[in-house]
Symmetry: C2
Subunit: 345 residues, 2 copies
């Protein structure tokens, strides 16, 4: 098929540093090409891809020196998609709002994957007004605030098979990876590790917005001899950092639409102990790839027993359910369904 | 004619407090109705108008408790305009970006008044991509950064004839009205007044962004016995405050696209001493409605001679050039030209 992938312009595809959506668009784009599809990628000009790149702006917006206006550049991108739309069988958007007036009137089938949380009240009137446009959720849990929207399917994220190595042997520490913010509950991770008398290594970034929380709640807990804070890390370091851990701790306190770090751990063969919010029950098999818990007592119990989890089963689940080719195949099925229903209409 | 006016949603029409664009949309809308046109106003639901109101959101965005997303609500508004577009002869937008993809493909004639400064580099590719869409400038000077855009005309702002009273007699003070920001140069106004041994009354608001500038540059100058700072004032207080002044001082240091306060002064019969940046040479007749100056020596000289200006001439110029019916008539001519060229095409 001839497929357009339309990425946000905040980060390049793939992103230089942080940028969950652009990372997933990258994995999807390259995996669709591996499946033999002809893909055109609308993204910032500093993106790197085997697809045909339509560079909407020279560099990604977030670190751009000229402080470009995101509304202007996303509007321009949507109009570039319109100009080229006759070349595509299907157009896949990864942005929330600005393309909808075009998408509902475009003669070519299109769909949107919503990458963020959906509990903003503004989204109700938005997706009511544009209800003809098909949406894809990244977990079933993500849909909860918008049950009546025009859902075409759920497709879980996937990672390239060779991005992380399988690590059959664990070292003696737990890992925490993510932002330091109240909903990630790094404090709970520290409590769990200390209760198990096991070292905890924390790889995390502290956003400006969370600076006060960090100083008040988390920094004072780092004095403990079992706790090591190593700051922000990249993909290559993650492979070793997560892969060598006895378990990844994800004691989250919010309805996370998709926890990429959970499937990163599974890719390494590292089991995950996570609170059962949001997408967690869809990503983990309780007792097989880790433990789903609901309070600290259960979490500590799980952490004590996590050596019983078969690391090979974690990697196998990753390969079967969360590999990029699996994701690309699921999207290709949705594209075909969409085109067929257009022809039938 | 059947005319749609599409206002920004940040403030109600008219705005409760500050909001230049929404104020002008209000004056234009009511003046078009006075001319016998049938006007539909797309705006926030707390607007007050004799037009048919299409309330896009219950309350204006800026002070809305729910912190609504401006991109979502302006996108929804544009789609509401699309749904109702068959009812209009012409659609007049007062926003910069989000309507352009719709406007260039709408079967009804449409135009956009650009209310802000145009020296942002992003606007070049934006108006190149949407070059079919006709634009209106609020002064000839405003166009300078975008000389090649699709300009349909220039229409200066206008105020209702009865908004301010003519004040034939001045009291012994100069007035400064506006924001306290580096480009408004309140410091120059103080220097001019002190050099003339004449009291200066300052009616101004201090935005958070300008707080440091205020504390460092302006506040220390307020100790002078000739200087009085009275804070922010509304339309009704402005009538007396500006109307009783011997002159309005506008020693600006930036290319202001349109200085509403200048025509407010003229409406009161108050002459204006202004630096010749941006729209100033279009709004003032040097030696007739005030003085256009280029340095402090000229400004002080002008302030000493401003009693020679005939206050009646200021009011007359206002009535002839900057009254709301004049503005509405100018826009109605553009609407007719646009409709005629569509029919001819």
């Amino acid at each position: 098929m001839k497929i357009a992938q339309v990425a946000p312009l905040y980060e390049s595809v793939p992103p230089r540093a942080y940028g969950g959506t652009e990372r997933v668009v990258h994995y999807l784009t390259e995996a669709l090409i591996d499946l033999g599809h002809e893909v055109t990628l609308f993204a910032s000009g500093d993106s790197r891809t085997r697809a045909r790149l339509v560079p909407v702006i020279d560099r990604a917006l977030r670190l751009h020196r000229g402080k470009p206006d995101p509304v202007i550049w996303h509007t321009l991108m949507v109009d570039r998609v319109r100009e080229l739309s006759r070349n595509f069988d299907v157009i896949h958007f990864h942005m929330d709002v600005l393309h909808l007036p075009f998408a509902v009137r475009c003669e070519k089938p299109s769909l949107t994957t919503l990458h963020g949380r959906l509990d903003l009240p503004d989204l109700q009137p938005l997706f009511r007004q544009f209800r003809q446009h098909p949406l894809v959720s990244i977990s079933w849990a993500q849909r909860a605030p918008l049950p009546g929207a025009n859902w075409l399917g759920t497709v879980h994220h996937g990672l390239p098979l060779d991005l992380y190595d399988f690590h059959p042997q664990a070292q003696d520490y737990f890992a925490f990876v993510g932002r330091i913010s109240p909903e990630k509950r790094c404090d709970r991770a520290i409590e769990i590790a200390v209760a198990c008398d096991t070292p905890l290594r924390i790889a995390a970034k502290v956003d400006d917005a969370d600076r006060a929380y960090w100083e008040r709640e988390i920094e004072p807990m780092l004095d403990h001899p079992l706790v090591t804070f190593i700051g922000e890390i990249g993909d290559r370091e993650k492979n070793t950092f997560i892969g060598n851990a006895r378990a990844l701790l994800a004691p989250i306190d919010w309805p996370e639409p998709f926890g990429l770090v959970i499937i990163e751990a599974l890719a390494c063969g590292t089991p995950v102990i996570a609170y059962g919010h949001g997408s967690v029950p869809e990503l983990l098999d309780d007792g097989i790839t880790g433990f789903i818990v609901h309070d600290q007592r259960q979490a500590i119990e799980a952490a004590r027993n996590v050596h019983r989890i078969d690391r090979r089963a974690c990697r196998e689940q990753f390969e079967r359910r969360f590999a990029a080719p699996v994701m690309a195949d699921a999207y290709a099925k949705l594209y075909r369904r969409l085109c067929a229903s257009r022809l039938a209409a």
